[in-house]
């Protein structure tokens, strides 16, 4: 395991190219593209304004940089560094910009969700899509990149348009049976579109590609409803997290509920393991206190932490949400399946310090990670069943079916990990603090397995195993 140097970054803009070869970061005006392995700068581009959004094209050949304040989008080519493209949305303003799956079109959403402008890099052609709906997730592309579903609002009714991404041909246009559509998401096999209503009503609709309503599901009424939805990579399960602190798993044949996962404050399930993070101040005067370490002042003053297995029944810390505020901090706000469909990680908002891992084979609770701070972000390894999470402190936590480790980020100054994501190979993690990034490379699968490393302070560039 190896920590890289720290690089600057702004607006949390740091992306790895889809092919995994490059790492692009934005620092104010500049876009820096590095070789992922050597971390040497491969390209350097200068934009017209501080970049607000940055995105790789699917073929890793272009990078899109959006400057929303000026309504500008700049596209850079890796193959031809002197090639440039600038898209100006004009006076209408820009709120969101994204690539189409083919990497040759840019979709810009204008202010007030007035329209979606589709710019082609091949032909310079412009197309408009009117009435896009401003919602949680109004646009989604299928995994194969052939179709796009777009939520629309016309005449106070929700509609869904399905476009063929090749030529932006409107394939289907149908009214959705929602009061106020909140989001839509294609199944990974590209054939089913899950559509859910906003939180005032628990309603989940499943549409076929050709616009037929396959099924509709509602768990309860008269209470705040769906908060998050996630497909399993195999399209076999649809997990629906809601404000009642439960996750309901629907199957792909009958679209009925298979099971529901509750998030109780007291864990009595004897098959589950509760990992509790315990913080420890380093003991001064121990053998760790070498001259070498004294130079790394951060590691001296940072706290160590390790996981302890709590005896069941265990209490999970719960916060009471304020009922008078909108979007109450309660319910399942995040769901994620592991790449092999075997595990589901969930986070309940009124238990912000806990992350729940469920076994999808036994359909039961497998582990609960009780952190000392609220969980900020958790991501599954794209290749293996292991989970990385961060809580806004100087540590990265890894979970795998074999156990848990906490790894301190040994950099000068404090590096508070606010967000993280995996490299597509699953061998590296990119950690983002407020203004910096740090790479955690060569994470062997065994490392996270070996619980011996719990609480061990990782020195910079020190290679273990």
């Amino acid at each position: 395991m190896n920590f890289s140097e720290v690089f600057k970054q702004s607006n949390q803009l740091c992306k790895v190219s889809p092919d995994g070869k490059y790492l692009a970061t934005c620092v104010q005006y500049r876009l820096v593209v590095r070789d992922f392995n050597s971390l040497q700068i491969a390209h350097l581009y200068t934009c017209l304004d501080p970049v607000m959004h940055m995105e790789w094209s699917s073929d890793s050949l272009f990078i899109l940089c959006a400057m929303y304040k000026r309504g500008l989008v700049q596209v850079w080519s890796l193959e031809q560094p002197d090639w440039h493209c600038k898209i100006d949305e004009g006076s209408i303003g820009l709120v969101s910009s994204r690539w189409s799956p083919d990497g040759r079109h840019v979709l810009n959403t204008t202010e007030f969700n007035l329209r979606v402008t589709v710019w082609s890099l091949c032909t310079k052609a412009v197309s408009y899509i009117k009435y896009p709906k401003a919602c949680q997730k109004g646009v989604d592309f299928t995994a194969d990149g052939r179709y796009m579903a777009l939520a629309e609002r016309r005449e106070c009714k929700d509609y869904i348009s399905v476009f063929v991404c090749d030529d932006w041909h409107l394939l289907r246009h149908f009214e959705s049976e929602t009061q106020d559509l909140a989001g839509l998401e294609w199944s990974p096999n590209c054939c089913v579109l899950a559509v859910w209503d906003n939180c005032l009503e628990y309603k989940l609709l499943l549409y076929s590609l050709d616009g037929r309503l396959l099924s509709s599901y509602s768990a309860y009424e008269w209470s705040l409803g769906i908060k998050s939805v996630a497909w399993s990579p195999s399209s076999q399960f649809l997990a629906v997290g809601s404000y009642d602190e439960k996750v309901r798993i629907l199957n792909h044949i009958t679209w009925k509920k298979i099971t529901e996962f509750e998030h109780p404050a007291t864990i009595i399930n004897t098959k589950a393991v509760v990992f509790k993070e315990v913080e420890k101040r380093p003991v001064v005067g121990s053998e760790d206190l070498s001259i070498h370490q004294l130079t790394v002042d951060n590691s001296l003053f940072s706290t160590q932490s390790k996981y302890e297995i709590t005896q069941l029944p265990a209490q999970v810390p719960v916060i009471k949400p304020d009922p008078d505020r909108a979007n109450p901090k309660i319910g399942i706000s995040a769901l994620a399946f592991s790449a092999d469909n075997r595990f589901l990680a969930t986070k309940n908002d009124n238990m912000p310090q806990s992350l729940w891992v469920w076994d999808m084979q036994r359909l039961s609770l497998l582990a609960v990670l009780e952190q000392t701070a609220p969980v900020r972000c958790f991501v599954w390894d794209p290749r293996r069943p292991r989970l990385a999470l961060c809580t806004g402190n100087t540590k990265v936590y890894l979970w795998s079916p074999a156990g848990c480790v906490s790894v301190n980020v040994p950099v000068e100054g404090s590096f508070q990990v606010l967000s993280l994501f995996w490299h597509c190979s699953g061998s590296s993690l990119v950690l983002l603090s407020k203004e910096h990034i740090c790479l955690l490379k060569y994470i062997l699968y065994n490392v996270s397995l070996s619980c011996h490393l719990i609480g061990i302070l990782f020195r910079r560039h020190a290679v273990f195993l």
């Binding site: 699917s58 073929d59 272009f62 309504g71 080519s77 002197d82 090639w83 440039h84 493209c85 600038k86 898209i87 100006d88 949305e89 004009g90 006076s91 209408i92 083919d102 990497g103 040759r104 007030f112 007035l114 329209r115 710019w119 890099l121 091949c122 032909t123 310079k124 412009v126 009117k130 009435y131 052939r146 179709y147 609002r153 016309r154 005449e155 106070c156 063929v164 090749d166 030529d167 041909h169 394939l171 096999n189 590209c190 054939c191 076929s208 590609l209 050709d210 044949i253």
Partner: protein
């Protein structure tokens, strides 16, 4: 009446004028009220004490008749009309007096008894009364208490009812409130819905307008600057939008859908076939389980139908499962259902049989079974014990084996050591044994020596005795005088002569001695005979001239007479030695 009394007084032959006395009596007789039995009884009871005082003597020689009259009157008043005293010529006949006295006594006793009873009754009544008063008091207290409780409860109930009433009112008002709020909410909701719709419409209108304006203005800024065109990612050229394209898109979409359905169908088929396999397996199992029951005559029609059906379907040549048509499926499910029912009934029957058997056993051979059971238990326990011991032994052995090192050489060495040790131990034991043997032998020798000594002593004693007997005999015989000198000689020789001489002499003497009185045997007499003789011949017959030695022997013999059996026994024991 008084007059008659007076007259009687006057008539009385020898009047002893105790007029004062009389008047007092009459006064007494008049004064007590007859109803006051109690008082009178008391007075009668007190009477015996006073009647013998000289002054208050009731009857005197002078006033007999008066007394009689008085008595008669009194008796009449007492209701004893049957008996009255009549003076016959001045003298009172004893019989009526005694009768009267008896009657009066009876009366008095009765009265006393009654009094006694009444007294006890009164005591009882008194205590009863007290008790009742007590209980009454208590009950009163209780009543008071209960009343208070009751009133308290009443009060509580009243309060609760009041509360209920208020709560009900509250509930009603709350319900009304809720209803009101609900209506408000619904009205608001409709209003808000309406508003949002209106706003949304306005918004869309504005958006339209904005769009229009943007389009009309020909926003110069809206542009794309691109250095050169980029090829499509798939390397193909863009195609014109035509109806053909549309159809192609549709076709592709349907193709995608179709492929998805196909994959799903395939997976379902796979699953289905797996399930079918399982089903087939289950069915086979079921058939094999149920087939041995076939020969049994079917009890009901259902059974028969089932078996028929089963035969029909259970035919392996007919692969019904492979047929996917509706009929086959129906048949399959039907057969499964029937088989299942059969299995169920079979299970039920088995259950009932089991219960029946169990009950029979319970009824019939409870005692027997218990005994058997106990025996069996005992046996099992024994076995268990044995097994335990065996295991224990094995464990010990195992431990021994384990504790000793496993390699052969050391084992052999150890074995040698063990044998050596064993030998040593044996040697030691042998030595001990030998020593003990020696000890025993020494003891035996001692013993034999002691026995020999004893034999010698006995012999000496016998000789002594023989000598003594001889002297005795000689003394008894008529030719005492003749032999005296000889006997005295021999007797003297006992003290003076050496042993050898003594031994030689007695046989001679005894021979002559015993042959004469009994004229029987020439043998030496046994000790028993000797004792008998000794007993038969009292000591008193012993002569004063006897020597001191003889005397001592005799006394010793007498003392030991009770020990004769012991002595004989000892002798018998010693005889082989």
């Amino acid at each position: 009446m008084l007059d008659s009394d007076e007259s009687v007084f006057l008539v009385s032959p020898d009047p002893h004028p105790h007029s004062a006395e009389l008047s007092s009596i009459s006064g007494i007789s008049m004064s007590p009220s007859r109803q006051n039995l109690h008082h009178s009884l008391h007075s009668t009871m007190a009477l015996p004490k006073t009647s013998y005082s000289v002054l208050s003597a009731f009857c005197t020689e002078e006033n007999i008749s008066q007394c009689i009259a008085y008595i008669n009157q009194e008796v009449c008043s007492l209701g004893l009309t049957g008996v009255s005293l009549e003076s016959k010529s001045g003298s009172l006949s004893a019989v009526p007096v005694l009768n009267l006295l008896y009657e009066v006594l009876q009366l008095q006793r009765r009265a006393q008894r009654a009094l006694h009873e009444l007294e006890t009754q009164q005591l009882k009544n008194g205590s009863d009364l007290e008790h009742l008063q007590h209980s009454n008091c208590r009950l009163k207290d209780q009543l008071e208490h209960t009343r208070r409780d009751n009133s308290g409860l009443h009060e509580g109930e009243r309060q609760l009812q009041l509360k209920i009433k208020t709560l009900q009112n509250w509930l009603k008002s709350e319900k009304e409130e809720v209803q009101k709020l609900q209506s408000i909410i619904s009205s608001r909701a409709t209003q808000y819905n309406h508003d949002t719709k209106r706003k949304e419409r306005e918004c869309t209108k504005l958006k339209e307008r904005l769009n229009q304006l943007l389009m009309d203005k020909r926003d110069k800024k809206l542009s794309i600057e691109i250095s050169n065109h980029v090829g499509r990612s798939d390397g193909k050229r863009g195609l014109w939008k035509t109806g053909k394209m549309e159809a192609r898109h549709e076709g592709e979409m349907y193709k995608a859908l179709l492929s998805d359905y196909e994959t799903r169908q395939r997976s379902l088929m796979m699953e289905n076939s797996e399930l079918k396999k399982v089903l087939q397996h289950m069915k086979k199992d079921m058939i094999t389980i149920l087939s041995p029951k076939k020969p049994e005559p079917a009890n009901d029609s259902l059974e028969q139908a089932v078996s028929e059906c089963e035969e029909e379907i259970g035919d392996p040549s007919r692969e019904t499962l492979e047929q996917s048509c509706e009929q086959a499926r129906e048949q399959l499910t039907n057969s499964i259902r029937l088989q299942w029912r059969k299995l169920k009934s079979h299970m039920e029957r088995l259950d009932s049989q089991a219960s029946l058997v169990a009950s029979q056993e319970r009824e019939g051979e409870e005692m027997m079974s218990r005994k058997e059971h106990e025996e069996e238990m005992q046996r099992m326990r024994m076995e268990l014990q044995q097994c335990k011991e065996f295991i224990h032994m094995q464990q010990q052995l195992l431990q021994q084996q384990l504790s000793s090192p496993c390699d052969e050489e050391t084992a052999a060495l150890l074995n040698d050591c063990y044998t050596l040790e064993e030998k040593e131990r044996l040697k030691e034991e042998w030595r001990l044994f030998n020593e003990q043997k020696r000890n025993f032998e020494r003891e035996r020798k001692n013993f034999t020596e002691a026995a020999i000594r004893l034999g010698h002593e006995r012999k000496a004693f016998e000789e002594d005795r023989a000598a003594w007997l001889k002297t005795q005999f000689l003394n008894m015989t008529p030719f005492v005088d003749r032999k005296r000198s000889a006997l005295s000689d021999s007797a003297l020789s006992v003290g003076t002569e050496p042993e050898a001489k003594l031994q030689s002499t007695p046989p001679l003497v005894t021979k002559s001695l015993f042959s004469t009185p009994k004229a029987a045997s020439v043998k030496m007499p046994s000790t028993a005979d000797l004792y008998r003789t000794l007993h038969l011949i009292p000591d008193s017959r012993g002569h004063g001239k006897c020597q001191s030695g003889e005397m001592s022997t005799k006394s010793r013999l007498r003392n030991c007479s009770t020990d004769c059996s012991v002595l004989s026994f000892v002798r018998d024991e010693n005889s082989p030695i």
